[in-house]
Amino acid sequence: MTDLAQLQAQIIADIAAAANEAALEVVRVAALGKKGSISALLATLGKMSPDERKTQGAAINQAKDEVTAALAARRDVLKSAALDARLASETVDVTLPLRDAPTEAGRIHPLSQVWDELTTIFADMGFSVAEGPDIETDDYNFTKLNFPEGHPAREMHDTFFFHPKEDGSRMLLRTHTSPVQVRTMLSQKPPIRVICPGRTYRIDSDATHTPQFHQVEGLVIDKTSHLGHLKWILHEFCKAFFEVDHISMRFRPSFFPFTEPSLEVDIQCRRDKGEIRFGEGEDWLEILGCGMVHPNVLRACGIDPDEYQGFAWGMGIDRIAMLKYGIADLRQLFDSDVRWLSHYGFKPLEVPTLAGGLSS
């Protein structure tokens, strides 16, 4: 073996033995640095004869190239090993459980969700949303709605009253959202199309009644709308709200002071182990009251009943929410039990839309 070959073999062995990039750099400097062994050999070329230089030069340069390649190859190996080692040291336990995202943990109350569903459906039919105060006058809650003097609803055992004022009048907590209809008729000219959702109050407390509850009423006043339109609207609403293709509804004559003719509406359903299915079955379930607005109410609100006509309906938001979402006990709506709310509530991004579905 020539000296050169021996030197090259030694350097290659040193490269292979280098345990890290620093050690490899020492080998590189020793071989290819300014005072390196191969650099020294290259420096001898100048003193050689052209022939000698031809053969020796080629050999030395080849050795230099091979050493350079070996260095690069070793460097890659060492770098990759170092990276592997670093990455290995950076390992974390990815099985650690995370908290729920806030958008998964937060909840919208079923009543708010149903409020949004209702407005979505009725907005599409051209209704706007009217609201009014919870604390009302006797005039707006009863008198203008054609409740006769002495009607039981006007008594302290049915309605929450406040203390009498100096003039003898007393405010009350509205027993329905109909005063909002009154306010709407007094402040707007027909045609009128509104829904009136809101909180209402009656002195009642048992498994199916709470002293506060929620209603949505609808009001249409124009020159042509009649019971046939009312029937259609309620039918369309029930299909959309309960998200079924077909629904059977039964309209029966009834009585309310503020409508004439008055109707009550039942929907057909099947009850099965606490679950209610609509659009099938043998049972009738009462869900709302409605009728043509009583001429006395129109007159009291400054509308001529011979020129204008219209209809109104009212239903319990709590009740339809319970029916749709299988909520058994009304009182739990107001219990603020987070276990219940997490179960029956809706995630914030579950926004009801007509395009995407009300509840999916």
Partner: protein
């Protein structure tokens, strides 16, 4: 209102099956609530005879009976525990497979103490026909063995119960119900004229009506020489079927007239009445022992019938015990009167009496039937008890006011959408007792005296529509019109909606709490005014309208903690009340975080868990305001808040001192104690109504964006300031140096402790400088930096940290 099928058939000739009649009743507005068909329910129960009853070999109290169930079948062995099970007894038997209503079980073949039993001998309670469960039923010895018991016992008459609407005075009697059914093509109405019965002597008792508004009409007569006793079986059965207790013929007649004709009557034992009668207001201190055995204290609001003894009867509601009829009554005074509806209702409510008479008089009874009703009652008394009638005494009016309505026949179509031919209208109205006259298009309609609920055109439409059939109303699409699809929600409704979703998106759970809270909680939060105090609260702790949502939410958080869920984040968006006028009602958005319910998530966690603190509440409040469209740049955060918040850990959000949008902070420990809640709790409340409305823009286009070509420069500064200096003031000072160039100021460090003097703190801010026209030179940047330092020093006394 209850009646039986056979009773209905006294007034309606019909072959329609019960189901059809019931369906029709509901569809004409007389909603059938329940049908009790005992014949159907009790079909398997048959009459049987005990042939032998031997002592059970293994049980002292049981007997082993052999029972003849009739129809030639072999005797059946039944083990029976009734003390009266004995040989020869005729009783009621049910075979295996029978549903026993009184026990809510279905019978099977059983082995009782080692002896097989193939059926049961029944008590009346087991059949739910009475409460009698002392032994098995004992039937007469001649009862037909093998026959269906219910048929034989006359229980075959189904009982119909109607949920009557308050307007239908006429249908508080079977007669009126039959009239409606006849109009609806369910049969022929039987309405024979009532012939007056001639009085044979003047009525010896006179009546004076002191107040005709309380008693518009009063009729009575005496029947002398009656023999009172049990009423006939048919009458007793009817009354029993609808849940009334037969008493004696005279009393049963009044109850019968009440249900049959919607005509409540009263009968006095004439011998117990002293002198003449007077209808008057009761006097303070008067009392009456009424027929229900209770003594009522009366006052001048109550209308009574009195004689020389004093009060004898609560007019139109209930008679008195002292003048009541019993089996010794020989002379009976029958009263048929008209009473003021409102006064009856108020008196009934006040005294707590729900009588059948009150039920009818508060709806109003047919004034024209006052005298005929008395005649009919006289006839029944004479039929059942004999006697000689006096002449009739009538005070006041015996008829109602004539009501004739001008009715354009087009009204039916206008209001209901149904096309009804004029002859059909006339047919319906005539059947209902109205009279329709004239060729049209506007006809005259006379309203019968028994329909005080009918006043105008719409009422006539209702009569025609309900009988013609509500199901015939044509479903008519409701055009939404040519109007553009515009948002229908008001700005406040939009804010409400967005506030909810914003808070839920922060992991908070929406609650809906009561509008009423306790007086003490209301006062704590600045409410509790008398005008917001409910006069008749349902419970003492639901007495005042809430001035805040926080009282309810704090109570809810505590209730959850008491249930074992201690890390709770709850919010509510709802109405609060600062006064009783409409403009005093606001929509608040409020939240509470308890324990480890921070913005990061619930509970302790390996990634680091923090108690919810004032900054979580602040973040909630600002998230709501941002979502609701508040001008965030204009908001000021001022330290401190109302007295119910921790003075050093609370803030007020405002746009100038005049418009306070809300507060956030830790609840004051004193307030927590007053509310009975454990802390610490952080809360916020903002009032959505107070957010200024954004200016309406003509287009939806957003302003053109300016994207600078030059890189922004960030410079950090650390200032040593007094501990009380607000970071917000430092930020504002820095921002104010050059509003164009400085596009952001961020607090990246707050430090107190080692290396910083006591009473001081270090605040680090990063200031972003955005060149607009050219890259800034170092000198220009230094100049801005120097101005920042000078301005912060000037405004806060802060020194640049060395």
């Amino acid at each position: 209102m209850k009646f039986t099928l056979s009773w209905l058939k006294d007034h309606l000739a019909t072959d329609e099956p019960l189901d059809t009649l019931a369906e029709k009743l509901t569809m004409i507005g007389l909603e059938v609530e329940n049908i009790e068909d005992k014949a159907k329910a009790l079909k398997p129960f048959t009459i049987a005879k005990v042939i032998s009853a031997e002592q059970h070999p293994n049980a002292d109290r049981l007997r082993v009976c052999m029972v003849d169930t009739g129809n030639g079948a072999a005797p059946v062995q039944v083990v029976c525990g009734a003390p009266n099970a004995r040989s020869g007894l005729v009783s009621v038997f049910s075979p295996p497979g029978t549903y026993i209503p009184g026990k809510d079980i279905t019978l099977g073949v059983g082995t009782i103490r080692g002896v097989e039993s193939r059926g049961m001998l029944c008590s009346a309670a087991e059949l739910q026909i009475s409460n009698d469960h002392d032994g098995i039923m004992e039937l007469p010895a001649d009862a037909p063995i093998g026959a269906a018991y219910a048929e034989w016992a006359g229980l075959g008459d189904p009982v119909v119960e109607i949920n009557l609407t308050p307007n239908r005075q006429d249908c508080t009697g079977v007669h009126g119900i039959a009239r409606d059914l006849a109009a609806a093509d369910m049969g022929k109405f039987k309405d024979p004229t009532i012939k007056p019965i001639k009085g044979e002597f003047p009525c010896p008792v006179q009546v004076t009506v002191e107040d005709a508004t309380l008693c518009p009409g009063f009729a009575m007569r005496l029947v002398r020489g009656v023999k009172n006793g049990p009423s006939p079986e048919w009458l007793q059965k009817r009354l029993t079927a609808i849940g009334l207790r037969p008493i004696n013929a005279l009393v049963d007649i009044t109850n019968f007239m009440t249900y049959d004709r919607a005509r409540p009557l009263h009968v006095f034992d004439a011998k117990k009445v002293k002198g003449n009668l007077v209808v008057r207001r009761a006097r303070d201190g008067e009392t009456l022992l009424a027929l229900d055995g209770r003594t009522y204290n009366l006052d001048p609001a109550v209308c009574v019938i009195a004689d020389e003894h004093g009060v004898e009867s609560l007019a139109g509601i209930m008679g008195g015990e002292a003048s009541g009829c019993d089996e010794n009554t020989t002379d009976v005074l029958i009263e048929s009167a008209l009473w003021n509806e409102i006064n009856i209702a108020q008196t009934g409510r006040k005294l707590g009496i729900n009588s059948d008479a009150r039920y009818r008089f508060e709806r109003g009874v047919d004034p024209a039937f006052m005298v005929p009703g008395l005649e009919l009652a006289t006839k029944l008394v004479m039929e059942m008890c004999g006697g000689t009638p006096s002449e009739t005494v009538v005070a006041g009016k015996a008829f109602g006011e004539d009501r004739v309505i001008d009715f354009p026949v087009t009204e039916v179509k206008r209001l209901s959408g149904i096309e009804v031919q004029q002859p059909e209208m006339k047919r319906i109205l005539t059947h209902l007792g109205f009279m329709m006259a004239g060729p049209g298009p506007v006809v005259k309609v006379a309203v019968p005296s028994w329909r005080s609920d009918v006043h105008g055109k719409a009422d006539i439409v209702e009569e025609i529509v309900r009988i013609f059939g509500v199901d015939k109303v044509p479903m008519t699409p409701f055009e939404r019109g040519e109007d553009a699809r515009k948002p229908v929600l008001t700005p406040l409704q939009q804010r409400t909606r967005r506030a909810r979703r914003a808070l839920a998106s922060r992991g908070v759970i929406e609650a809906v709490t009561w509008s009423f809270i306790t007086k003490s909680a209301a006062k704590l939060f600045g409410g509790g005014q008398r005008e917001l105090e409910v006069a008749n609260p349902i419970a003492a702790d639901l007495s005042d309208m809430r001035p805040t949502l926080l009282a309810g939410l704090i109570a809810a958080a505590q209730a959850n903690a008491n249930r074992g869920v201690s890390d709770v984040a709850l919010f509510e968006v709802g109405q609060i009340f600062k006064g009783d006028r409409p403009q005093d009602q606001f929509i608040a958005a409020s939240g509470v975080r308890r324990g480890f319910a921070s913005s990061e998530g619930l509970g302790r966690h390996w990634s680091g868990s923090a108690q919810a603190d004032v900054f979580d509440a602040k973040a909630d409040a600002l998230a709501v305001l941002a979502a609701a469209g508040a001008p965030m740049q204009a908001l000021q955060i001022v330290a401190g808040g109302p007295a119910w918040l921790h003075p050093g850990r609370s803030g007020t959000i405002q746009i100038g001192p005049q418009n306070v949008l809300g507060h956030f902070g830790e609840v004051h420990p004193g307030a927590l104690e007053a509310l009975g809640a454990d802390g610490p709790l952080v809360v916020f409340e903002v009032i959505l109504d107070r957010i200024p409305e954004a200016k309406k823009k003509p287009t939806r286009a957003k302003p053109v964006i300016e994207l600078s070509a030059f890189q922004p420069v960030t410079r950090d500064f650390a200032f040593i300031v007094d501990r009380g200096v607000k970071a917000g003031d430092i930020v504002r000072a820095a921002q104010g140096v050059d509003k164009k160039l400085i596009t952001g100021v961020n607090v990246f460090d707050v430090y107190e402790g080692k290396g910083i003097d006591d009473g001081k703190k270090s605040i680090g801010i990063a200031v972003t400088i955005q060149p607009r026209e050219k890259t800034l030179t170092d000198q220009e940047i230094e100049a801005v930096a120097a101005k920042i330092v000078a301005e912060v020093t000037k405004k806060t006394g802060g020194m640049l940290r060395g």
